[in-house]
Symmetry: C3
Subunit: 274 residues, 3 copies
């Protein structure tokens, strides 16, 4: 299935409307382009509906949110829902402030999301309002381990049922669930958390892949996440070979996204239906 997604992205270059934070926006645009999508960033309330209309997917990322952009997110999201475009939510820092948690919850009330992707703290903050995120990263006691894997999967399934969205909880182990099925992915490397933007880029890319693979959201989401993780592994290899560092890693990661093909990916993904 994902083979066809990668092929069609190349042919159709889906346009992805991003309302996103100003920290990683350039990385997000370049990541979308790397996978053969076409990014358009627009957040003014007077144009977001029109922009979303000419696009094929919408990605909403609440990092560096402010009142002006929150209103635009809702307006764009409603239009994307109306047009049946996939809509991805990245609840960056949900749990770290009331503004972020409440904004994310308001977005969940107003918009039907296709995919919600965050770390375990952020997803828990959305679902339960009972955690706090630190430095836009998972709390130590919120890491997915062999011990709590089943608990997290059951939580993700329940949250998927509530929201109707595919729930993607990413970290060292990634969990991608709908109400019925769950994929567990173990691609990736520690270096991915030594640069900013790997999560944001992943959510941005999900806009491009779900625009094509909308009929099988769960599998498309799972393979996109595995692809990102595997590209991280390839980049990590490069950094080890040339003794470079975190900025080289960022470059090699986007390079890998821009060159990987399905056959390499197939050999590299570590993905299991749970």
């Amino acid at each position: 299935m994902f083979e066809k997604v990668l092929e069609e992205i190349k042919l159709r270059n889906p346009i992805v409307h991003c309302i996103t934070n100003y920290v990683t926006v350039n990385d997000c645009a370049n990541a979308i382009l790397a996978v053969n999508g076409s990014p358009i960033m627009a957040d003014d309330i007077h144009e977001v509906e029109e922009i979303t209309t000419i696009c094929n997917a919408l990605v909403i990322n609440i990092g560096t949110l402010n009142e002006r952009t929150v209103a635009s997110m809702i307006k764009a999201g409603k239009m994307a829902n109306h047009l049946n475009h996939p809509v991805v939510l990245d609840p960056v820092g949900a749990g770290a402030s009331k503004l972020r948690t409440n904004t994310a919850k308001k977005l969940l009330e107003e918009i039907n999301f296709s995919v919600i992707r965050g770390n375990i703290s952020e997803i828990k903050a959305l679902a339960m309002n009972m955690t706090s995120t630190q430095g836009v990263d998972a709390n130590i006691n919120d890491i997915v381990t062999a011990e709590n894997l089943n608990e997290v999967i059951s939580f993700a399934k329940k949250f998927s049922q509530e929201t109707g969205a595919v729930i993607a909880i990413t970290g060292a182990t990634d969990i991608v669930a709908n109400q019925e099925k769950t994929y567990v992915i173990t691609n990736g490397c520690a270096m991915m958390s030594r640069i900013t933007g790997t999560g944001c880029m992943l959510s941005a890319i999900l806009g491009a892949t779900t625009a094509i693979g909308q009929n099988d959201l769960l599998e498309t989401t799972a393979y996109t996440i595995a692809m990102m993780g595997y590209c991280g592994e390839l980049a990590d290899q490069r950094v080890r070979n040339d003794n470079s560092g975190t900025s080289s890693f960022r470059m090699h990661l986007i390079d890998a996204l821009s060159t990987i093909n399905y056959y390499q990916l197939k050999a590299g993904v570590k993905i299991e239906l749970h």
Copy 2:
């Protein structure tokens, strides 16, 4: 002529005031620095006139525009006109939303631009309000080809007459026209559209080069565009040699801008007076 422009930029480090989008702003600053200019980004309405006054050129880019910044663009543009500084317009996404098209048109009414640089869709949207841009990129039926080259040239000359600006329509083939003369440039490579920001960087660099070459705007604009395209070719070569990808391409492109000299450029430019 352009040899002298490159020499003087090194000596005088012209300061370029940019009111630009938050997607590619870092690339724009680094591109200006690469060609020995000095960037200053400032968009608050309470400082844009003062900032423009200490600068040598102004670049207005409407990507990720919002109401706050549009008012600043007009204020800065009027002051730059008053001071006889070159003013460059990059109408990113004109045609993609009424807000962008109308903003670009309003800017054209209020400000005298020295250079207007965009893809064919954007320039047509400004001139004729009869097209739509997709993903901040040219429509397929808006590509400049051997067949429609003369038509596009004649259009560019007419639009230059209306606006008083040098019109730069960039794509696989670039057209740079004033009322009387047209340069056709065929430098560049496909990879340039696989990263975000090549258009924005080009407009930003035009601020630095036209600050020096203001007396021959047409030739300065044409050679700046040829330089960008040729640096793209050099970067493309590097990417092919080391089998890297789009993020490496971005780095090699800015590297090339920062090291190219007139003699290399002279040997590489593909520029014709039409």
Copy 3:
């Protein structure tokens, strides 16, 4: 002392709240991560107090300031003061516009800063309102030389007395002073001013290092600045070896920040107690 700072950053990953400009924000986040800190960028007035509360330091950078963010800076700064977190000020472009100079002065009135880092023009603009910055860079007549070194040191000490902050004046020669002692640092290279963001990244990193070395602010600040300069030298070496350019330099600089250890640093720093 700084050896312990570098060790503890790795163990504790201090969270650094940045209210910063959109030009170099991505570089700042990656620089903080490179030195094992954890960045969080947040500027909405409804969340800055909460965000600062879960952080270990605050960095305020006034590049691309606007009215909305200035109010957030003051609110966050007061809270960080209340919590006794280190607060770093980067007065980007102070002196270039009344808005920036007045904002920087207002911030000085409302907030107690731990470290103020800028070029000589910016620091003079804060202290004396008798200079102007160009292109967010030092005026030619504002360069620190062997001739005016003692004058600048005495000025820095006085300004430290007035503000209670460690004053860091960076350029070819860096001066780091409190009321009593001054370090003079001569690390760094010319290439550092050929990319945007070296100053901003340095201020951002100071958030991470002073969060750990708050008890010896002067030495922590001096060694952090020497580390940045030495990493610049290492990056410069790489660029010379592979004949690359300014964008490669940026990458090698962040790479060096992410890999340097205390023993390398000790061998490379050029730091003198004056």
